[in-house]
Protein backbone atom coordinates (compact mmCIF):
# COMPACT_ATOMS: atom_id res chain seq x y z
CA UNK A 1 0.00 0.00 0.00
CA UNK A 2 1.29 3.51 -0.77
CA UNK A 3 1.80 6.26 1.77
CA UNK A 4 -1.18 8.26 0.56
CA UNK A 5 -4.42 8.68 2.43
CA UNK A 6 -7.65 7.63 0.84
CA UNK A 7 -10.63 9.67 2.00
CA UNK A 8 -14.18 8.82 1.20
CA UNK A 9 -17.53 9.85 2.57
CA UNK A 10 -20.89 8.17 2.35
CA UNK A 11 -24.41 9.30 3.05
CA UNK A 12 -26.28 6.82 5.22
CA UNK A 13 -29.93 7.16 4.29
CA UNK A 14 -32.69 7.14 6.88
CA UNK A 15 -34.75 4.01 7.41
CA UNK A 16 -33.72 2.57 4.08
CA UNK A 17 -32.86 -1.03 4.73
CA UNK A 18 -32.46 -1.83 1.08
CA UNK A 19 -29.17 0.03 0.94
CA UNK A 20 -28.18 -0.21 4.60
CA UNK A 21 -24.68 -1.65 4.69
CA UNK A 22 -23.61 -0.20 1.34
CA UNK A 23 -21.01 2.09 2.91
CA UNK A 24 -19.45 -0.74 4.93
CA UNK A 25 -19.55 -2.99 1.93
CA UNK A 26 -17.71 -0.38 -0.20
CA UNK A 27 -15.05 0.09 2.46
CA UNK A 28 -14.61 -3.66 2.71
CA UNK A 29 -14.09 -3.91 -1.04
CA UNK A 30 -11.62 -0.99 -0.99
CA UNK A 31 -9.55 -2.69 1.71
CA UNK A 32 -9.49 -5.96 -0.18
CA UNK A 33 -8.32 -4.11 -3.30
CA UNK A 34 -5.62 -2.42 -1.27
CA UNK A 35 -4.41 -5.82 -0.17
CA UNK A 36 -5.23 -5.44 3.53
CA UNK A 37 -5.01 -8.49 5.78
CA UNK A 38 -8.33 -10.44 5.69
CA UNK A 39 -8.63 -10.39 9.48
CA UNK A 40 -8.31 -6.58 9.54
CA UNK A 41 -10.83 -6.34 6.72
CA UNK A 42 -13.27 -8.41 8.76
CA UNK A 43 -12.77 -6.28 11.87
CA UNK A 44 -13.37 -3.12 9.88
CA UNK A 45 -16.38 -4.48 8.03
CA UNK A 46 -18.19 -5.75 11.13
CA UNK A 47 -17.57 -2.70 13.32
CA UNK A 48 -18.52 -0.29 10.55
CA UNK A 49 -21.61 -2.27 9.54
CA UNK A 50 -22.89 -2.21 13.12
CA UNK A 51 -22.35 1.56 13.37
CA UNK A 52 -23.97 2.11 9.99
CA UNK A 53 -26.99 0.02 10.89
CA UNK A 54 -27.36 1.86 14.20
CA UNK A 55 -27.52 5.15 12.29
CA UNK A 56 -30.21 3.70 10.02
CA UNK A 57 -32.23 2.11 12.81
CA UNK A 58 -32.00 4.74 15.52
CA UNK A 59 -30.98 8.06 14.03
CA UNK A 60 -32.58 8.71 10.63
CA UNK A 61 -29.31 7.98 8.91
CA UNK A 62 -26.19 10.10 8.92
CA UNK A 63 -22.83 10.36 7.24
CA UNK A 64 -19.79 8.12 7.26
CA UNK A 65 -16.31 9.52 6.70
CA UNK A 66 -13.54 7.06 6.08
CA UNK A 67 -9.80 7.57 5.96
CA UNK A 68 -7.47 4.78 5.00
CA UNK A 69 -3.70 5.01 5.13
CA UNK A 70 -1.14 2.25 5.20
CA UNK A 71 -1.33 1.95 8.99
CA UNK A 72 -5.00 2.23 9.78
CA UNK A 73 -8.61 2.69 8.82
CA UNK A 74 -10.41 5.50 10.59
CA UNK A 75 -14.19 5.67 10.36
CA UNK A 76 -16.36 8.43 11.72
CA UNK A 77 -20.12 7.93 11.63
CA UNK A 78 -22.13 11.00 12.54
CA UNK A 79 -25.84 11.28 13.04
CA UNK A 80 -28.28 13.85 14.28
CA UNK A 81 -30.47 11.31 15.97
CA UNK A 82 -31.79 11.12 19.53
CA UNK A 83 -28.44 10.44 21.19
CA UNK A 84 -27.75 7.72 23.75
CA UNK A 85 -28.96 8.62 27.26
CA UNK A 86 -26.94 5.96 29.09
CA UNK A 87 -23.92 4.90 27.09
CA UNK A 88 -22.68 2.45 29.70
CA UNK A 89 -26.00 0.62 29.60
CA UNK A 90 -26.05 0.70 25.80
CA UNK A 91 -22.63 -0.95 25.71
CA UNK A 92 -23.98 -3.97 27.59
CA UNK A 93 -24.61 -7.00 25.44
CA UNK A 94 -28.33 -7.69 25.10
CA UNK A 95 -29.49 -4.20 25.96
CA UNK A 96 -31.57 -2.75 23.15
CA UNK A 97 -34.01 0.03 22.44
CA UNK A 98 -34.84 -1.20 18.94
CA UNK A 99 -38.55 -1.50 18.15
CA UNK A 100 -40.18 -4.88 17.48
CA UNK A 101 -40.29 -4.25 13.73
CA UNK A 102 -36.50 -4.02 13.70
CA UNK A 103 -36.06 -7.04 15.96
CA UNK A 104 -38.25 -9.11 13.67
CA UNK A 105 -35.67 -8.45 10.96
CA UNK A 106 -32.98 -10.02 13.09
CA UNK A 107 -31.46 -6.73 14.18
CA UNK A 108 -31.77 -5.09 17.57
CA UNK A 109 -30.34 -7.94 19.62
CA UNK A 110 -28.32 -5.51 21.69
CA UNK A 111 -25.09 -6.60 20.07
CA UNK A 112 -24.28 -3.61 17.89
CA UNK A 113 -22.16 -1.56 20.27
CA UNK A 114 -20.58 -4.66 21.91
CA UNK A 115 -19.60 -5.90 18.44
CA UNK A 116 -18.06 -2.52 17.63
CA UNK A 117 -16.08 -2.63 20.85
CA UNK A 118 -14.99 -6.17 20.17
CA UNK A 119 -13.82 -5.61 16.60
CA UNK A 120 -12.53 -2.03 16.61
CA UNK A 121 -9.01 -1.45 17.91
CA UNK A 122 -10.18 1.94 19.16
CA UNK A 123 -13.76 3.01 19.68
CA UNK A 124 -14.83 6.47 20.72
CA UNK A 125 -18.43 7.48 21.09
CA UNK A 126 -19.56 11.04 21.69
CA UNK A 127 -23.26 11.41 22.23
CA UNK A 128 -25.69 14.04 23.37
CA UNK A 129 -29.38 13.48 23.93
CA UNK A 130 -31.40 15.41 21.38
CA UNK A 131 -28.33 16.31 19.34
CA UNK A 132 -26.85 13.12 17.96
CA UNK A 133 -24.02 10.66 18.15
CA UNK A 134 -20.54 10.42 16.68
CA UNK A 135 -18.92 7.00 16.54
CA UNK A 136 -15.21 6.84 15.75
CA UNK A 137 -13.73 3.48 14.89
CA UNK A 138 -10.07 2.81 14.28
CA UNK A 139 -8.73 -0.48 13.00
CA UNK A 140 -4.96 -0.77 12.70
CA UNK A 141 -3.83 -2.47 9.54
CA UNK A 142 -0.38 -3.36 10.77
CA UNK A 143 0.12 -5.26 14.00
CA UNK A 144 2.84 -3.06 15.43
CA UNK A 145 0.77 0.11 15.22
CA UNK A 146 -1.16 -0.30 18.43
CA UNK A 147 1.72 0.76 20.64
CA UNK A 148 2.49 3.82 18.56
CA UNK A 149 -0.91 5.46 18.81
Amino acid sequence: MSDGIIRKSFVIPANDFTIAGEASSSVKKMLIQLGADPQKVKKTAISMYEAELNAVIHANGGVAEVEIDRHKVFIRIKDEGPGIPDLELAMQEGYTTAPDSIREMGFGAGMGLPNMKRYADKLEITTEVGKGTVVEITVFLTDNEKEDH
Binding site: G21, S24, S25, R118
Partner: protein, 109 residues
Protein backbone atom coordinates in the same frame (compact mmCIF):
# COMPACT_ATOMS: atom_id res chain seq x y z
CA UNK B 1 -17.34 -28.42 -2.06
CA UNK B 2 -18.66 -25.93 -4.62
CA UNK B 3 -22.07 -24.31 -4.10
CA UNK B 4 -23.27 -25.86 -7.37
CA UNK B 5 -22.52 -29.40 -6.25
CA UNK B 6 -23.86 -28.77 -2.75
CA UNK B 7 -27.17 -27.44 -4.13
CA UNK B 8 -27.44 -30.44 -6.44
CA UNK B 9 -26.65 -33.03 -3.78
CA UNK B 10 -29.20 -31.56 -1.37
CA UNK B 11 -31.73 -31.09 -4.15
CA UNK B 12 -32.19 -27.39 -3.47
CA UNK B 13 -33.87 -24.75 -5.52
CA UNK B 14 -31.41 -22.12 -6.77
CA UNK B 15 -33.00 -18.65 -6.72
CA UNK B 16 -30.06 -16.66 -8.01
CA UNK B 17 -29.36 -18.32 -11.36
CA UNK B 18 -25.74 -19.00 -12.12
CA UNK B 19 -24.44 -16.44 -9.64
CA UNK B 20 -22.04 -17.62 -6.96
CA UNK B 21 -22.31 -21.31 -7.82
CA UNK B 22 -18.56 -21.76 -8.21
CA UNK B 23 -17.76 -20.54 -4.71
CA UNK B 24 -16.37 -22.95 -2.19
CA UNK B 25 -18.35 -24.05 0.89
CA UNK B 26 -16.29 -25.00 3.92
CA UNK B 27 -18.84 -25.27 6.69
CA UNK B 28 -22.26 -24.24 7.87
CA UNK B 29 -23.72 -21.70 10.27
CA UNK B 30 -27.29 -21.45 11.50
CA UNK B 31 -28.61 -18.35 13.28
CA UNK B 32 -31.16 -15.58 12.83
CA UNK B 33 -29.60 -12.80 14.89
CA UNK B 34 -27.69 -10.84 12.32
CA UNK B 35 -25.11 -9.34 14.66
CA UNK B 36 -24.46 -12.77 16.08
CA UNK B 37 -23.94 -14.22 12.62
CA UNK B 38 -21.49 -11.47 11.73
CA UNK B 39 -19.58 -12.03 14.89
CA UNK B 40 -19.50 -15.83 14.86
CA UNK B 41 -19.87 -17.20 11.34
CA UNK B 42 -16.67 -18.09 9.53
CA UNK B 43 -15.63 -17.27 6.00
CA UNK B 44 -16.85 -19.99 3.67
CA UNK B 45 -19.80 -21.02 5.85
CA UNK B 46 -23.08 -21.59 4.12
CA UNK B 47 -25.71 -19.82 6.25
CA UNK B 48 -29.24 -20.96 7.03
CA UNK B 49 -31.65 -18.22 8.03
CA UNK B 50 -35.40 -17.62 8.02
CA UNK B 51 -34.87 -13.94 7.23
CA UNK B 52 -35.48 -13.03 3.62
CA UNK B 53 -35.01 -9.26 3.58
CA UNK B 54 -32.22 -7.66 1.62
CA UNK B 55 -29.90 -7.12 4.58
CA UNK B 56 -29.08 -10.81 4.83
CA UNK B 57 -27.03 -10.23 1.69
CA UNK B 58 -25.09 -7.40 3.35
CA UNK B 59 -24.36 -9.66 6.32
CA UNK B 60 -23.19 -12.42 3.98
CA UNK B 61 -20.91 -9.95 2.20
CA UNK B 62 -19.40 -8.78 5.49
CA UNK B 63 -18.32 -12.26 6.57
CA UNK B 64 -17.66 -13.81 3.15
CA UNK B 65 -20.55 -16.22 3.31
CA UNK B 66 -20.72 -17.81 -0.15
CA UNK B 67 -24.29 -18.97 -0.03
CA UNK B 68 -27.51 -18.45 1.94
CA UNK B 69 -30.07 -21.20 2.47
CA UNK B 70 -33.70 -20.35 3.12
CA UNK B 71 -35.43 -23.30 4.83
CA UNK B 72 -39.04 -24.47 4.93
CA UNK B 73 -39.92 -23.04 1.54
CA UNK B 74 -40.12 -19.45 2.75
CA UNK B 75 -40.83 -16.88 0.05
CA UNK B 76 -37.82 -14.65 -0.70
CA UNK B 77 -38.19 -11.01 -1.62
CA UNK B 78 -37.28 -10.07 -5.18
CA UNK B 79 -34.95 -7.28 -3.98
CA UNK B 80 -33.00 -9.82 -1.94
CA UNK B 81 -32.55 -12.15 -4.90
CA UNK B 82 -31.45 -9.25 -7.10
CA UNK B 83 -28.95 -7.96 -4.54
CA UNK B 84 -27.54 -11.43 -3.90
CA UNK B 85 -27.08 -11.96 -7.64
CA UNK B 86 -25.22 -8.64 -7.90
CA UNK B 87 -22.95 -9.66 -5.03
CA UNK B 88 -22.40 -13.12 -6.52
CA UNK B 89 -23.94 -14.86 -3.51
CA UNK B 90 -26.21 -17.80 -4.22
CA UNK B 91 -29.54 -18.13 -2.43
CA UNK B 92 -30.80 -21.70 -2.18
CA UNK B 93 -34.21 -22.76 -0.96
CA UNK B 94 -35.64 -26.03 0.25
CA UNK B 95 -38.77 -27.25 1.98
CA UNK B 96 -36.63 -28.90 4.67
CA UNK B 97 -36.03 -27.50 8.16
CA UNK B 98 -32.66 -26.12 9.25
CA UNK B 99 -32.12 -29.30 11.27
CA UNK B 100 -32.80 -31.57 8.30
CA UNK B 101 -30.53 -29.49 6.09
CA UNK B 102 -27.75 -29.60 8.67
CA UNK B 103 -28.02 -33.37 9.04
CA UNK B 104 -27.69 -33.87 5.29
CA UNK B 105 -24.95 -31.26 4.91
CA UNK B 106 -23.01 -32.86 7.73
CA UNK B 107 -22.52 -35.96 5.59
CA UNK B 108 -21.18 -33.88 2.68
CA UNK B 109 -19.02 -31.19 4.25
Amino acid sequence: MKVREFAGQLNMEILTGENGLEKEIKGMYICDLLSWVMSHATKGDVWITVHTHVNIVAVAVMVDIPCIIIPEGIEVEEATIKKASEEDIAILRTSKTAYQIACEAGKLL
